[in-house]
Amino acid sequence: MWLQLALNAFTLGSFYALIALGFSLIFGITRAFNLAHGEMVLLGGYLAYVLGTYWQVPFFWTLPACMLTLLLLAVLLQALLQHVREPFELNSLVVTFGLALVLQNGMLVLFSANHRLIRNAEAAWSLPSLHLTLTQLQAWLIALSLLATFLVSILLRKTFLGKALRATIQDREAARLAGIPVERMSVIAFAVGGILIGLAGPLYGSTAYLHPWGGMEATLIAVVITIFAGVGRIRGVLLGGWALGLAESLAVVFLGTSWRELVSALVLIILLILRPEGLLRVSYGPVR
């Protein structure tokens, strides 16, 4: 039973990491605080639901469709946020807060408050001797999350563009002075972030019920993991995802499902108190 718990936690955690990846990248490179992150994930989920249910698009093909759509939406968001004034972090937070409200209500109008789920083939593999079952969906989640993390990691570490992105994460002003086109980096950050969000959406819609108010929770998860991992640190995102997945799974086992949401909220508060600089610049200068 514990093995199954570990597997479930691992699956959940990998998925959480995928959700957090886009947020971490966008925040790290642009310092934009996208409080509508969860709603955008939901949007991807709803889109996949519509494609699958009304146009019988096979699940596998909804993924690229959502990735493309969310890429466009994210780039639009970046254009909007360019007009936000200082202090950028706080103001982008409040503007995207408003955006979250708009999206929530938009989804309410379009899809009503009914909970919806993307139905998938229920294939599974079992190891009865170990009381272990892995569903096809879980396999997808793990594979895609790890693949996405791996690809982003390669992008940041092995490509020239990645170097420029990392420099922008480290110190935006210094990167600008070094000749890096930081504004273009912002667009790329949102584009890649949008792709990741679009990937997470349909997967989210397959594992959890889609309903207009589910976005905040996903956003909080993304924020928690980003702070835990340190801004822009990709490997930390995986670790953070697994840690959070484990914490939540344990909470469900010992306290019951109704306490699950409290875990991410409490972890976030604790992290914010212990590491308020987790959201600040990645530097170690003295406080003035």
Partner: protein, 263 residues
């Protein structure tokens, strides 16, 4: 109850502070007597502003004590230290940007050492302070429209509004024209004649030689020399610190001997 001139106004003992494993100040000792003007000099990163932040309570030292007229003010909050009689300006001016210079000074008058009673009547006093730094003609503009030199002067007027006995001035002459520097020198002399004790940070040395009684040189968080302006400015350690030469050779050979007054 005017303090005797020979009494100690400010004393620092074994102040140490580090951040994230990087030491910023190492075993700093300092003594400033009443109505002295002491200048702290040193290259960038020497820890001068950090020292001010420790004295004024914006930073808490890991070790050591700060004594103001015999009272231990280490780790007390900044507003408490202000009420005790220490005022300061900031290296990068921090005016209240949406308030006018008059309002800026009013905050100092309202919350400084003699703050509370009849605070609304401080209005004239605010104008006097602004006049003293030649800002009365811009008293009603938002502070963010002031020039650098004017902002520096506003900082001084505002700090003076809190009725300090000890005033910490952080780089008030940096980046100013020779004219403005001369004004700053006159201002500093005028402050001393009002009975203030002054501790000045002056990285660029425009001010120090002309007004200070004593100089203290810092480099990389350590006090490397202390004495009269002539002594300190001619000390080879100080010169090489400013020129940024490799200190390793100097440290090994000369450092121990060239600390005449370190505690």
């Amino acid at each position: 109850m005017a303090p005797n001139k020979a009494q100690v106004c400010l004393e620092l003992r074994h102040i140490e502070i580090g951040f994230g494993g990087v030491p910023l100040l190492k075993d700093i000792g300092l003594r400033v007597e009443e109505q002295e003007i002491v200048s702290i000099i040193g290259p960038n990163g020497a820890g001068k502003t950090t020292l001010f932040n420790v004295i004024c309570g914006h930073l808490h030292p890991d070790r050591g004590t700060v004594l103001f007229r015999g009272e231990d003010i280490t780790r007390r909050p900044p507003h408490h230290i202000c009420h005790r009689g220490i005022g300061r300006t900031f290296q990068i001016a921090r005016p209240f940007p949406e308030m006018t210079p008059w309002e800026n000074v009013m905050v100092g008058l309202s919350f400084g050492k003699r703050g509370r009673p009849g605070w609304a009547s401080h209005g004239d006093e605010a104008m006097e302070l602004l006049a003293m730094v030649q800002l009365e003609h811009k008293a009603q503009l938002p502070a963010r429209e002031l020039t650098l030199s004017e902002l520096r002067r506003l900082e001084v007027a505002r700090a003076l509004a809190t009725r300090p006995d000890l005033l910490l001035l952080d780089e008030i002459a940096a980046g100013l024209s020779p004219q403005a520097v001369k004004q700053a020198v006159d201002l500093v002399k005028g402050l001393r004649s009002r009975g203030l004790t002054l501790l000045i940070i002056d990285h660029f040395l425009n001010l120090t030689a002309k007004v200070s009684d004593r100089l203290v040189a810092l480099d990389q968080g350590e006090k490397i020399m202390e004495g009269t302006p002539v002594e300190v400015l001619q000390c080879p350690d100080v010169i090489s610190a400013y020129l940024g030469e490799s200190r390793q050779k100097v440290v090994k050979d000369d450092k121990i001997e060239s600390h005449p007054e370190s505690n």
